[in-house]
Subunit: 332 residues, 2 copies
C-alpha cells in the first residue's frame, strides 16, 4: 500500500501483542534466510510463513535443486554453515569430488549431506508431490515447524540477459561467478503462486521483505501471479530491509548488478526501486540518512539500525527491533 495511507484507520491493528502478529517474510538465500530465522525465533510457527524464491532452482545431475529453499531450511533447522552462508555444517564432498574425477560437472558444489535433500526431493516430486509438499516433508524431518513455502509449484527460472545472450541463473551466478555484466534480469511469464502462499498473504498483518537481492531474489517472488498485486493492494504493512550497506552488498552480486544496470549503488536506490510497494524501509546505521532528499521517498517511514547479522542472536535482535517498530506503527 502507499506509504501515505499508513495512518488510515483500516491499518490499525486490534491486536496489540507480538504473539498475535501474523507475518509473511519474502526471502531469497543467505540474507533472507538469516532474517527469516530471526523472525522464526520470536513468533509462534503458526503465525509465520516464509515465501522463498525458487527462480534459482534448476535441474542438475538429474536432480531438482532449490538453493534458496534449502538455505532457508538449513538456517531454520540450525544446521546451516555460517562460514559459507550456504550448505550444511560439517559437510563433506566425497561424491562431487568423484563426479569431477569421472568428467561430470562439479562446478555446483553439492555436499554429501546436502545431496540427501536433493535426492529426497527429487524422489518426492517423481512420486507426484508438489514442491510445497516435498518441502513440508523435508522440513518435518528437520524439526522445522514454521511454514516454508516455495513461491510457486511451477518452474519459474530466472534468466540473466547479458552480452552473450540469455544465461540460466546458476550458470551466471555460480559457474561464471557473476559474469558477464548483467543487462537485465529476465523473469518468466504466466507463473502462478500456490494456494498456500495466497492464503498466507491474505491473512498476514505484516509482509517483511528480507535483505535479499531485489533483482534475483525478491523480484522473482513478486513476479509470480498474483503476489505483487497482493503485496501492493492488501491493507498490510510492508517493511523492506536493505541488502545494501554503505554502497556494498553484505553478500552476493546485488551491488555489482546495480552498477551494471545503471543504478546508483546505495540503500536509497533500493528504497526507490521498491517504491510504493513498501511502507517502511530498514537500513543500516553505517549509511547516512539521505532519504528525505529523495522526493519520491518523502512519505516513507525509515528505521535505521545495525542490520548485520553475525550470529543467531543478531538475527533475533534485528527481527525483534523490526517487529517492535511495526507494532508501534500498528498501534499508533
Amino acid at each position: 500500500m502507499p506509504a501515505s495511507s499508513l495512518s488510515n484507520d483500516n491499518r490499525k491493528k486490534t491486536q496489540s501483542t507480538l504473539h498475535d502478529l501474523k507475518v509473511v517474510v519474502l526471502a531469497g538465500g543467505v540474507g533472507g534466510a538469516k532474517l527469516a530465522d530471526g523472525v522464526a525465533q520470536i513468533l509462534p510457527p503458526e503465525n509465520l510463513s516464509i515465501v522463498v524464491n525458487t527462480g534459482d532452482d534448476f535441474k542438475h545431475l538429474g536432480l531438482t535443486i532449490c538453493p534458496d529453499l534449502d538455505t532457508v531450511m538449513y538456517n531454520l533447522a540450525g544446521i546451516d554453515n555460517p562460514a559459507t552462508g550456504w550448505g550444511r555444517q560439517g559437510e563433506s564432498w566425497r561424491t562431487i569430488t568423484e563426479v569431477g574425477r569421472i568428467g561430470g560437472p562439479d562446478w555446483f558444489k553439492l555436499g554429501d549431506l546436502d545431496l540427501a535433500v536433493h535426492l529426497t526431493r527429487s524422489h518426492l516430486l517423481a512420486k507426484g508431490c508438489t514442491l510445497t509438499e516435498a518441502t513440508r516433508h523435508i522440513c518435518d524431518h528437520y524439526g522445522i515447524k514454521t511454514q516454508l513455502l516455495p513461491m510457486s509449484d511451477q518452474p519459474a527460472p530466472t534468466m540473466i540477459a547479458c552480452e552473450e545472450g540469455l544465461l540460466p541463473f546458476q550458470n551466471w551466478f555460480v559457474k561464471r561467478q557473476w559474469q558477464p555484466a548483467v543487462q537485465e534480469v529476465r523473469l518468466p511469464e504466466d507463473v502462478k503462486t500456490t494456494s498456500q502462499v495466497a492464503l498466507a498473504l491474505e491473512r498476514t498483518d505484516l509482509i517483511l521483505i528480507a535483505p535479499s537481492n531485489p533483482f534475483v531474489s525478491i523480484d522473482p517472488i513478486l513476479n509470480v501471479y498474483p503476489i505483487r498485486a497482493m503485496v501492493a493492494d492488501l491493507p498490510k504493512l510492508v517493511v523492506a530491509v536493505s541488502p545494501i550497506i554503505a554502497g556494498e552488498a553484505v553478500k552476493g552480486p546485488a551491488a555489482k548488478m546495480m552498477g551494471e544496470m545503471g543504478m546508483e549503488v546505495s540503500s536509497v536506490a533500493v528504497a526507490v526501486y521498491y517504491g510504493d510497494l513498501i511502507d517502511v524501509f530498514v537500513f543500516d546505521q553505517r549509511d547516512s540518512s539521505l532519504y528525505k532528499q529523495e522526493g519520491s521517498l518523502k512519505d516513507l517511514v525509515t528505521f535505521q539500525t545495525d542490520t548485520i547479522m553475525r550470529d543467531r542472536q543478531d538475527r533475533r535482535h534485528l527481527a525483534q527491533q523490526i517487529l517492535d517498530f511495526s507494532m508501534e506503527l500498528f498501534n499508533k
Copy 2:
C-alpha cells in the same frame, strides 16, 4: 548354432592364436562381472565386447541407476568391492544415511562414490547422450579400454510376476529380498539393441554366456531384438558357464527361482534351459557329470573345472581355460 554342427567346416577358424580371437561376453552383475574381468585380463581390448543386462535398471531418487553395468565397470576398473560383490571399494554411506534420516527411501544402498556415477550418467542422459555413450564416457574416466555395452539404449525393465502381481525388478530383488516366490519373469516386448551390440555380435568368433542368472540376467539380454537370433544363427561358438554349483547359486536368487518355477535346481537344468542356443557348457568340478544321461544334451560339449572365482587370479585362470578349450574346438 546347434551343437551337432560344431564340426562343420564353416566353424573352423583360420586364426590360431588367442590374440586374434574376438569375444562377446553376455553378462549380468556379480558372476558376469567376474568372468568378464577374467577375459579382459587376457584379450586385447579391441577384441572384447561385454554386453550387459540393463533389465535391472531403474529410476530412483531422480537418478538412472544401472546396477549390472556399474558392477561390471567397477570390476574392470579394479575398484569393485570383493566383500559384497557390488559397489565400490572404500565406499562410504553419508548421503544415503541422511536420505533415510529425512524420510527418503534408503532401501537401495547407494554409496557416496557410487552416487557419483549415477549423477554423472543422469547428467549425460539429460544432455542427450545414449546410455551407450554415457557408459563409454564413464569407462574412459575409469581407464577401461574394453567395450562395455548396455544391451539396449531403450529402457527394458524386467518385471517379476508373483502372487502379488507384477513387481518391478529392484522392488523384488533388493527391497523385498527375493520375496515373494517367483511365478514368472516378465520381459518387455519391442526392445531393440544398439548398432554397437549388433556389430560386436556380427564380428565375434565366440559368445561367452557368463555365470549369471539365466532368468533375470541372460534372458533379458537375449530378449532384446535381435540378440537371441544373432546368438542362435550366426556361425559362432557359444559357451555358457553354469551359475549353479552343486544345486546352489554362487550368489543371488537363481537356485531359489528355479525351485519356485518348478525346475530341477542343478547345473544340468541350466544346460537344458539354454538348449540349442549353446555349443559348450562349462560346469563346476563339484558337480557330478550327469549330462550324458540327458537325451537332449547328448551332443553338448561339456567342460568341467573349478568355476569359483575367489580373486582376480581365479577370474583370469577360469577365462584362460575356457578360451583355450574354445581354441581347441576351433582348431580341431
